[in-house]
Amino acid sequence: MKNWAKKTFKLKEKHILLALLLIALLGSQSIIYSGYSVGVDAWPHFVRTKFIYDWLRNGEFPFFSFFFYSGYPALRFYSPLLYLIAGSLAWLLGGQVFWAMKIVLFLTNILSGLLFYWWLKEIGKDSFQSFFGSMVYLLIPWRIHYAAGIGTYPLFLIAVFLPLAFIALERLLKNPSLKNSLFLGLMLSLLILSHLVYAVWSFFFLFLRFILYLFSQANRSKLKAFLFSLLALLLTFLNSAFFLLPFILNYKNYSFPQVYEKLPVPNPLVLFGFLSETGGYTGFYLGWSIILLIGLAIYLRIRNKEFFQDIVPIGLTVSLLLTFIPVFLPRGEPLLTAGLPPQRFLFFFVFFAGILAIEGFTFLKDRFSNFSMVGKGASYLLFLIIIFDCLPRNIFPAYQSREELLGLRDEIYEILKREPVVKLVDIDIPTEGIDIVRRICKFPAYGFLFGNCPTVYGPPYHQFAPKSMLYVYPWINQLAFDLGDSTTPVLSENSLKIIRLCGISHIISLPTLLTWGADSTVVCLKDGLIWDNRFILAGAKPPLAIGEYPYSPLFLASNVKKPLPTETVTQEKSFSIADDWQTLLEAIEIDHEKGFCNFIPIKENSQQQILDGEDPEIAITNLALTHSKVEAELLASKDCFLRVALSYYPELQLRLDDKNIPLEETKDHFITFFCPAGRHNIKISKCWNPFEKYAFYLSLFSIGLSLVLFIPRNYSKTQKQKIGDIPK
């Protein structure tokens, strides 16, 4: 009889899990549709995935790329786990970066529902309650729209690891042991490696749970739990040291000055569904069915004086407070949001809503059962209400076709793949605008992903752009203005200087519009570049042209290194720029053909140096650019100083004919060094610095040790249990 009951229960559980899987599949379908993401924020994630793919394919040094920002420490300041997984999958799939990411997101979304189910079972909910709570966690429409629609992809991993972290903490609190410490440490480090800011707030909520535990337990078990929690924290640090240590040590030096923009909190009317969403920051529908169940649960908690009984209602309230409190904080908001939209805290609302909704469900189910017309179908009624309310809102067009996305650029990228592109700038519409999102975020990503083109811009976020961007942003803005200026037929000397100083080899732009009237449209392509005008077609939207700079743009030679005063950082629109960008531009004279400039500006505290003789002349051949190194053969007519349009980082290494040569930072934060006359092989690369190396080994050791101590113990225990189950 007992066996039969057990069997029946297992069968039910299996059915419930199958139903949950089906709901997860249906609710995740939008992620796996074909096409390309509509949300701007998605593109940096694809770029980072391609970094990993490229690094794996080429066997290169990770965590640096010369493809963006003229070189920057990629993934050093952005949690890398999602990209490590998606990039590795892309490698296995033969370079299918987009599909790799979609598969990872699709699977993690499904997995998050199943893990949440496990978490609910762990805290004592029955199978149907756990199923119901997991369904809520999966289907709250805001979650998938914020994660997949807007493109907050790391949230998918957080949705997986947060329930696991809570499971680990609950286990540690119930049974403080080394195994549970290892489990918690591993989960916390995975949170850190998924997304640092979400991880910090996840830690906060886990800490709240811990505090509540301390208030409710006897002293002895408290101490034990405390000690093992400290061990878990230590392990967390060690596991993620390869990312965390360089981040902490370099954070201050490498951060780029930011103009803080207060981002709006989500609109409650949109969250309640009274208004349709009008943009990324206004939020999305939370689901009336879920709101009502949560409201009912909170009412019951307050009525029964159980509001502070556990973390769930507190966590839910705190997450809502964090979401909306920035409205009332004139100054302290960045501390909470790290400069990102406050609606991110709604994720924690979703997490706690999944648990709290169960209480509303249980109450209503009991009440409805009394109605003769509903009877035993009360559970199904509530289940159907959630499904009907939320599931259709989870199915939405998150992607657009390649044709819609790229238009003519698709063909242009195919051409550029075969060209020696040193750096590409996609001006798009040639108008002034330093922070036009398409120009600085979308098109650089498209160029890299579809055309494998390096660029002067970088993938957002710009918090860790190199300092050279203080000059590059206003320079490119000036170049775009000049390209759109219909009063001159030739690119100005300043524009050509900008191209050379930034190391730009190719430009994509709409042609300059001269007149547009009833009869005809007259456009021109300004002299100064070699234009490919095949894409200026009647009816093509938009008509585009590729402009090629006729010389090798990366190197400039000079006899003079001249110190100039340090720049002051000022603001233009939403960007920080150097105040002297124009003065500097006008002071430098360039002979484009010879690759000579009148002087190389260096930092204020450096020594002026002058070499005698005629103006140097350089010729570049065999220029090759990969993520981790730039190589070229250079012929210098005489001893000279070289300026390379690569962003300066102290860990960059220069080898001139296999000899290490010290690098110096220019005033505009690029690279300069001394080059003797003659033919040379130049190699600039990023190398490990000691603490990066040791932090990496530390993490490797710690993760390995955790796995050795954690998995086999579990494995042997399972084996023992299985042996024990055999009837004697």
């Binding site: 569904g273 009274f274 009008t278 017309m373 509903v374 009624l381 209400i385 309310d389 259709p392 009833a518």
Partner: protein, 616 residues
């Protein structure tokens, strides 16, 4: 709930739901301005000042979709057009709960549920401005209610009369609702034949037969153009898995306000409750219960509605037959089903729900209308300040208010208000559509333009025809170059009105030229039609003709070229109205010959918008 409480609530809800219509000047119903414009044209058809009888042709009967036109036309003898229209809308709003009440009563359901009928007063059909279909839906409920009552009554003469009137009204509302009502009516009759004596069977078919003979049959005879292949294509297109999937997925978005999830949530709950309680009923009493008594009627009704909603082809002989229009009806029937399933329920919770939901929905709709009213509050004054009898086109780069209160493109037909207030012509008119009750005389006075993305028809060349531009939203970058040339007459809130300054200036140059030249050798002058009278000063000795009239007269062979030529002619560059087919060479600004006449350009305005030809 007592009968008295129910009636008090009904009155209170009636006031609450009617209030939005009376509070705002402009209403957010997409096609409404076009329908109002038709009433305005009909009302002024013989007004000698407006010459509508020369611009439009009436095809009033037998034509479907004319209920709003006739109703408002008649009422406009008593009230101003705006008030007449509000009376019409008030009636349509109240018809929903009344019709639902009537049907539930005839089926023996719980009448309290009729209060939920108010939720459908502002429905998909009303927001799209399908004003005939909107009234037709509750009329179907009345019709079927009467049929159900007639099945059990001995004396049905009065019912027969009422049903015949209802059938005729349904045809006038829209042929789609007429066809649907006929199908439902006959199917219900068919499944109840066994219960009826022969005489009654025949008498109950009479309302359909009479209405069919006097309305549908002559309309079909007039409309039919042998478009079988088109219909087959429509069937293929609409009865496909993807169309079916779309219809199912979008069901809840096609009931009322699209952008309000709280309303959609209520509809979803209604749907789930109706389905689940019916399953429970089957579980308790067996599947045969569904075929008993009144359940049979409601199930047949729901089944046919569902079939029409899921599979009906989109167009038939050019009458737009959107299956989506049945979604609100489907939900009215779900409520009827609920009223049957809960026929004996009368407790406190139900009372609270039936009071709370309409109040919340009513306030929700009221707030939205007030906010919409704020967005449009200055528009009437702006339009009223424009010159009379000009040509205005709307450029709605944003077709909805922001935030989007309703989820419908409510602004696209607002240029019609210019015709209503200032008797001009508007960019897009239903008069272009040949099955309309009022159509343009051919050749059309203005080129037919894209209804949804007007700018595609207007830019870069065709804007010169119009005098005014009503702009809402941010223009496309390339359009801004041309818009810069216009003069902004007024800007209020999100609305902007521009005047066609380049062409106006060109007319000033032309007037100047005409006043300086000796034109005594000419007797006639040919000018573009519908030019603002204030733009043009023609010497009195010249007899005026416009291209539109001349083209029409030449086409109908009422005049020959020698009756017009030789003459002076002013040509508007890039004018692509229908008459341009005859005079198209004039756009070349070159000398050419047609028949024995030579056309010679003798003056060009500075920017080339107007050209004067000497024709001899």
């Amino acid at each position: 709930m007592t009968k008295r409480e129910f009636l008090i609530l009904f009155v209170v809800f009636s006031i609450l739901f009617v209030l939005p219509v009376w509070l705002v000047e402009f209403l957010p119903f997409v096609d409404l301005p076009q329908h109002l414009n038709f009433v305005h044209i009909l009302r002024n058809y013989h007004n000698p000042k407006l010459h509508y009888n020369k611009i439009y042709v009436l095809r009033l009967f037998p034509t479907h979709n004319t209920f709003h036109l006739f109703f408002n036309y008649l009422l406009s003898f008593l009230f101003p057009l705006a008030i007449a229209n509000k009376i019409y809308l008030t009636i349509s709003i109240l018809l929903f709960p009344l019709a639902l009440w009537f049907l539930i009563k005839q089926l023996g359901g719980n009448e309290q549920f009729a209060l939920l009928g108010f939720l459908f007063s502002y429905n998909y059909n009303l927001f799209w401005g399908f004003l005939g279909v909107n009234v037709g839906i509750p009329l179907i409920l009345f019709l079927i209610g009467l049929e159900i009552s007639s099945l059990t009554r001995d004396r049905v003469e009065f019912n027969l009369l009422l049903m015949t009137i209802l059938f005729v009204m349904l045809f006038l509302c829209h042929s789609l609702v007429y066809i649907f009502s006929v199908v439902v009516y006959l199917v219900i009759l068919l499944f109840n034949l066994k219960l009826l004596p022969w005489r009654k069977r025949i008498s109950l078919t009479l309302p359909f037969i009479i209405s069919f003979v006097i309305t549908f049959l002559p309309w079909q005879a007039k409309q039919f153009r042998g478009e079988g292949s088109e219909l087959q294509e429509q069937v293929r297109q609409y009865i496909s898995p993807s169309a079916l999937w779309q219809n199912i997925m979008n069901l809840f978005q096609r009931i009322g306000i699209k952008t309000d999830q709280s309303l959609i949530f209520i509809f979803k709950i209604t749907f789930i409750l109706a389905i689940l309680t019916t399953f429970n009923l089957i579980r308790q009493k067996g599947v045969r219960q569904l075929w008993k008594n009144n359940y049979r009627m409601i199930f047949l009704f729901i089944l046919i509605t569902l079939i029409f909603y899921l599979f009906f082809p989109g167009e038939y002989t050019e009458a737009v037959f959107l299956n989506e229009r049945f979604a609100p009806l489907l939900f009215l029937l779900f409520i009827t089903l609920l009223a049957l399933n809960f026929s004996n329920l009368n407790n406190r919770i139900l009372r609270y729900i039936l009071i709370l939901i309409p109040i919340l929905v009513g306030i929700n709709i009221l707030v939205r209308f007030i906010l919409f009213g704020i967005d449009t509050k200055d528009l009437k004054a702006m339009i009223s300040r424009l010159n009379e009898r000009g040509k205005l086109v709307g450029l709605f780069y944003q077709r909805r208010p922001k935030p989007d209160y309703f989820g419908y493109d409510v602004y696209i037909h607002f240029p019609c208000y210019y015709q209503i207030y200032r008797q001009g012509l508007c960019g897009f008119s239903f008069a272009y559509i040949r099955y309309s009750p009022i159509v343009y005389e051919e050749p059309n006075p203005l080129p037919r333009i894209d209804e949804w993305t007007t700018w595609n028809s207007i830019f870069p060349n065709n804007w010169t025809i119009y005098d005014y531009f009503l702009v809402y939203g941010e223009p496309r970058l390339q359009d801004e170059d041309i818009i810069k040339k216009w003069r902004k007459v007024e800007e209020k809130g999100n609305w902007r009105i521009y005047e066609n300054l380049p062409v106006k200036k060109a007319w000033e140059e032309i007037n100047n030229w005409l006043s300086q030249k000796d034109l005594s050798k000419y007797n006639r002058i040919l000018i573009p039609p519908f030019v603002d009278e204030k733009f043009i000063q023609i010497p009195t000795h010249l007899k005026r003709f416009d291209y539109q009239t001349v083209a029409k007269m030449i086409l109908t062979k009422r005049i020959s070229a020698s009756d017009i030529f030789p003459c002076l002619a002013i040509w508007l560059k890039d004018d692509n109205r229908d008459y341009a087919e005859i005079f198209g060479y004039m756009n070349t600004n070159e000398t050419f010959n047609i028949l024995e006449y030579q056309f010679t350009p003798i003056y060009n305005s500075t920017k080339g918008y107007l050209i004067i030809y000497d024709i001899r």
